[in-house]
Amino acid sequence: MKPIYFDNHATTQLDPRVLQAMLPYFTEHFGNAASRNHAYGWEAEEAVEKARRQIASLIGANAKEIVFTSGATESNNLAIKGIAEMYAEKGNHIITAATEHKAVLDTCKHLEKKGCRVTYLPVMGDGRIDLDMLRAAITDQTILISIMYANNEIGVVQPIAEIGKIAKERGVLFHTDAVQAVGKIPVNVIADNVDLMSITAHKMYGPKGVGALYVRRKSPRVQLTAQMDGGGHERGMRAGTLNVPGIVGLGEACAVAQAEMPEESQRLRAMRDRLRARFESALDEVFINGSMEHRLPHNLNMSFAYVEGESLLMGIDDIAVSSGSACTSATLEPSYVLKALGLGDDMAHTSIRFGLGRFNTEAEIDYVADKLIAVVTKLRELSPLYEMVKEGIDLSKVQWTAH
């Protein structure tokens, strides 16, 4: 049996409806959307323009403001590097946050080496940035604010409309990496005063390898320097033959998400809340990481104190989730997102991220709850820390032998 999939912040299963929409564009409609003088090209272009409208409709944009990319990493690179280059004469300061995805943080680090100045705003205990700190960080050199819509680990939704308002008032462009939010919660680039927005298909039941960057065309008209040279596709912002089947998939994924969002987000929220309630009623010493109020409906990130994350994952090998534990990361460092919330490494080591999705069922919630509760209980019997806490020992006062 394949494991139950509760890792929908990493990627999502392709929706069969999306696949059906894509299939003809691999075979009979194989044209190049840039071929202007025959029917193969026109068909492909028509499909791409339909997808553009579907995406624009979901985020409150105009179809002309959608630039197709290979995914959100490219969108983030294009937005941040493209703005830094285009507006280099205006200034060289960028503001972002400590909990951003690596595609934003590493892009900013790259620009620092090229002479940009970057402010990495800390987050508060609930995972949101402090708007006063944002205001204070803006200087006359600031050209861009890049703050994610919702976090991929803790699902915390940033005050995007407020950030957009501040950016607009101060004449600074605002980019948001919205991959976790688009298609899941209402997102509107007009209401939120967003100038650039990164989107990817595979986080919303579309295919991997295709994404988009929303680039505002009016008030203000945002320009950016292309990061790839070539045929001048996508209004000169992103060269390269368009991935027509992928783009059709992204468009269809947006259309399905838009049609189903009101009901689906309620369903996911109810399941998520049920999972949380099951844990909290059966186990002591469990903690929610990040704001519950400002959070994606399908995310739960909890620390199961005194039980190390990798050993917990080992006990639930028929459930696919991820952990903030160092042992599960490539770098052997505990989650920098959880540390940014002010959590000690000990709590980061015990955290599990649950990402629910369209194909999960209520029966799976109960199975996962039962299994987790049993494994946590078993591992706590093995945990010297849990034993010490039960004996009334304050772990923070113990002289540990660091190694």
């Binding site: 006990g315 019997e381 010297p384 820390l385 849990y386 034993e387």
Partner: protein, 135 residues
């Protein structure tokens, strides 16, 4: 990551989980690691005063599956050994037995440290010279 069958076996059926009375003069307790490092091992031995042989060994471990397996295996090996024989257990023996990958070698080091710490505690209780710790 794929775990070896031996690691899985110790994880699924840990041997000698529990605690001994740490105030007992024949019990040595070793606690190594730190919560912020992601692993803490508590390992205890009980030495038979007549024979000098380790009669019982118990452990509790907060850590990954390989850390749990390393300490579980250590308790198995400790039982029936004299204190001096127990001191000869090396982390590399644990690595080989459990087929630990390079990133998990520190788990075996921690288990060796826990053995030494438990023996040290026992020796101090018996009025002997403490061990010189390698780490």
């Amino acid at each position: 990551m794929a775990y070896s069958n031996k690691v899985l076996d110790h994880y699924n059926h840990p041997r000698n989980v529990g605690s001994l009375d740490k105030s007992d003069e024949h019990v040595g307790t070793g606690m190594v690691g730190a919560p912020e490092c992601g692993d803490v091992m508590k390992l205890q031995i009980k030495v038979n005063p007549e024979t000098g042989i380790i009669d019982d060994a118990k452990f509790k471990t907060f850590g990954c599956g390989s850390a749990i397996a390393s300490s579980s295996l250590a308790t198995e090996w400790l039982k029936g050994k004299t204190v001096d024989e127990a001191l000869a257990i090396k982390n590399t023996d644990i690595v080989n037995e459990l087929a630990l990958p390079p990133v998990k070698i520190h788990c075996s080091v921690l288990a060796e440290d826990a053995i030494k710490a438990a023996i040290n505690d026992y020796k101090v209780k018996q009025g002997a010279e403490p061990l010189v710790q390698a780490h």
